[in-house]
């Protein structure tokens, strides 16, 4: 089949058949190829992008590029003021957020919920003590406030709540999370940390996806949380460090470790700190995407098969004539393989242009807002090229098989249009 003469004649026939084919038919096949390509790459990319979006939230809203957390033997970062001063003096540091984190509970409706059989409307939450100005510079916390407003200088006994703590925004009651009812900006709630209790006013409620690290947190200015934690030192629980764009987080982590910060805190990059299981979820979503894409691939294969089969059946007489005058069956089969290759190559090329010329940059700049995360399209070039190869391979097979079926028919029957 792959003799030089067969390839030359196959190519000669294919070029002329494509050139003289109906523009609408060619356009339709290329469109099917384009949709298949996008289905293969974009669906998988979006599914993976949902998980990457979760990771990106984790990075932009919590860890930054490098995060310091307590050593396993401590529940705070040792000598925080010195560490902060050292980090702030390093080049390439854009923003730093130092936070106190502690467990606590919040209770709503405690003034009206007084009956002997009533259950307290309270829920566990992570209480985060922040420097409102530094935190806003780091994570842009203020821009997530949906109801009420962000902290103002001098705010006292005021909290901002994550949406999963409020029943009208949360997924509903879950173990350990009983969202508060009837809570709005201005509502008083009771905050308990350890043995200390404070009545505080809800100043704002956030709007972030359920998987955001901010979704189930209570934010409060740091001095008040420190007081609730009954701490009189300045040692925080977490320091997020955001580096200048393009900076190497691993190199910065290593610099901190070489500088001895590792003796005071655990030093990790965002990738080190990402919760275990996220990669597994990403792989799972990728596999689901591949499964969905495979169905698309089969559909495209069947489409090409049908198109080529109809084409070959309607040209059966001419295939017979070509064989009759001595054109090898392999050359005729190759002409259909080349045509299929053409359709797949054009469809994939247009798909690549749309993907990397528009979709990826656009969705990077404007992520798709989903309840779970702000999704982007993850389409690494190598993976995309693998999918292109898959599409081309499937298309070639789908083009070859029907051509072979028709070419194998008896030559004279084909010429005379006889069915045997």
């Amino acid at each position: 089949m792959f003799s030089l003469a067969n390839i030359r004649v196959g190519w000669y026939l294919a070029v002329r058949q494509i050139r003289r084919a109906s523009l609408y038919t060619t356009g339709l096949i290329v469109f099917v190829m384009l949709l298949t390509f996008l289905n293969l790459v974009v669906v998988t990319g979006l599914l993976v992008g949902i998980v990457v979006g979760i990771g990106n939230q984790f990075k932009s809203q919590e860890t930054g590029d490098v995060v310091l957390s307590p050593l396993d033997t401590k529940d705070y970062i040792v000598e925080t003021p010195e560490v902060l001063a050292f980090v702030q003096g390093l080049p390439g540091v854009e923003h730093i957020a130092a936070r106190y984190l502690t467990g606590g509970t919040i209770e709503a409706n405690y003034l009206t919920n007084t009956g002997p059989n009533t259950v307290a409307n309270e829920t566990g939450a992570q209480i985060e003590g922040i420097d409102p100005s530094a935190e806003n510079a780091f994570s842009g916390l203020a821009r997530y406030v949906k109801e009420g407003s962000y902290f103002s200088p001098g705010d006292y006994d005021a909290v901002i709540l994550g949406p999963q703590l409020i029943d009208r925004y949360s997924f509903g009651k879950q173990p350990g999370l009983t969202p508060l009812e009837n809570v709005y900006p201005g509502t008083k709630i009771r905050l308990t940390v350890g043995g200390a209790t404070r009545d505080v006013v809800v100043k704002g409620i956030l709007n972030v996806p359920a998987n955001s690290p901010l979704a189930a947190r209570v934010f409060m200015p740091a001095p008040e949380v420190r007081a609730l934690m009954q701490r009189d030192d300045q040692n925080v629980t977490e320091i997020g460090i955001e580096l200048a764009p393009g900076a190497d987080a691993a190199a910065f982590r290593d610099l901190l470790l070489r500088s001895g910060v590792g003796a005071d805190a655990k030093v990790e990059t965002f990738a080190d700190a990402i919760p275990s299981g996220v990669q597994e979820i990403q792989d799972t979503f990728g596999a689901i995407g591949n499964a969905v894409g495979s169905v698309g691939l089969v559909v495209a294969g069947i489409t090409i098969f049908i198109v080529i089969f109809i084409n070959a059946v309607t040209r059966r007489k001419f295939i017979g004539i070509a064989k009759g005058i001595g054109i090898a069956g392999g050359a005729i089969e190759l002409s259909y393989v080349f045509q299929s290759l053409f359709y797949a190559a054009i469809g994939s090329s247009i798909g690549l242009l749309i993907l990397y010329g528009f979709l990826v940059p656009y969705i990077d700049a404007h992520p798709i807002v989903l309840p779970i995360s702000n999704a982007i399209i993850v389409a690494p070039v190598l993976g995309t090229l693998e999918r292109v190869a898959l599409l081309v391979g499937a298309t070639v097979i789908a083009g070859y098989l029907p051509a072979r079926i028709i070419v194998r028919k008896n030559t004279l029957d084909s010429i005379l249009g006889r069915n045997t």
């Binding site: 002329r16 003289r20 005058i325």
Partner: protein
């Protein structure tokens, strides 16, 4: 030695249990340089005979010998190669490939023979000039008249200088003027030494050949050399 010889040729078609014998044991020899017309009434088996002789079909019994060589056990690839290099074909309905221009239709089998594109195009252009189609080189079959298409088909059949030219009812779909042109071309080719076997039901054109073989009911009814008359 005959250029082509058929011995005891039988061709049957099966339709379920029923078997129809179209050729009932034909013996025939055609020598180099002969122009033979095969005539007979419709259904006599003349086209079927030509398909067996030209290796487009396989006989049920008997053998076709080309230059003394049996084709009975020939592999499909060998048959294809023989049709490509030794034979030329002119069909009743022109049988040009619709996506190829007149020139490209003639070029295609030459490319298959391994000729370069330039060489093939030069040979094809000469063959088309021989049938007076120089002005139609780039035309698709759909842009040519029936007579022009048949002349293009003749050009394709003779471009590679085949040993044997088969023509199956080449004038059946043509008007009188075009038919005359086609027969004239065959006469000129024959005069130049081309061996031709032509199936026709038109006696006037059959007489252009030097020999007329009449088939009836699957058998050779008569085999007459016109020079003998």
């Amino acid at each position: 030695m005959a250029l082509i010889e058929v011995t005891g040729l039988v061709k049957s078609f099966k339709d379920g249990e029923r078997e129809t014998r179209v050729l009932k044991g034909i013996d025939l020899e055609v020598g180099r340089g002969e122009f033979v017309s095969i005539v007979g009434r419709s259904g006599a088996g003349k086209s079927t005979l030509m398909y067996q002789m030209s290796l487009l079909d396989e006989p049920t019994e008997g053998d076709v010998l080309v230059e003394g060589r049996s084709t009975r056990e020939m592999a499909t690839e060998e048959e294809t190669l023989m049709r490509l290099t030794e034979f030329g074909y002119v069909f009743q309905d022109y049988a040009l490939l619709p996506d190829l221009s007149a020139l490209e239709n003639v070029v295609l089998p030459l490319l298959m023979q391994g000729k370069s594109k330039g060489e093939a195009e030069a040979i094809a252009a000469r063959a088309l000039a021989k049938v007076e189609l120089t002005h139609r080189l780039k035309n698709l079959p759909s842009q040519m008249s029936g007579g022009e298409q048949q002349r293009a088909a003749i050009a394709r059949a003779i471009a590679h200088a085949p040993k044997l030219l088969f023509a199956d009812e080449p004038t059946a779909n043509l008007d009188r003027q075009s038919s005359g042109q086609v027969v004239t071309i065959f006469k000129e080719l024959h005069a130049a030494g081309q061996t031709i076997i032509m199936v026709t039901h038109e006696e006037e054109y059959a007489r252009a050949a030097g020999r007329i073989v009449t088939i009836d009911d699957g058998k050779v009814l008569s085999d007459v050399s016109l020079s003998e008359q």
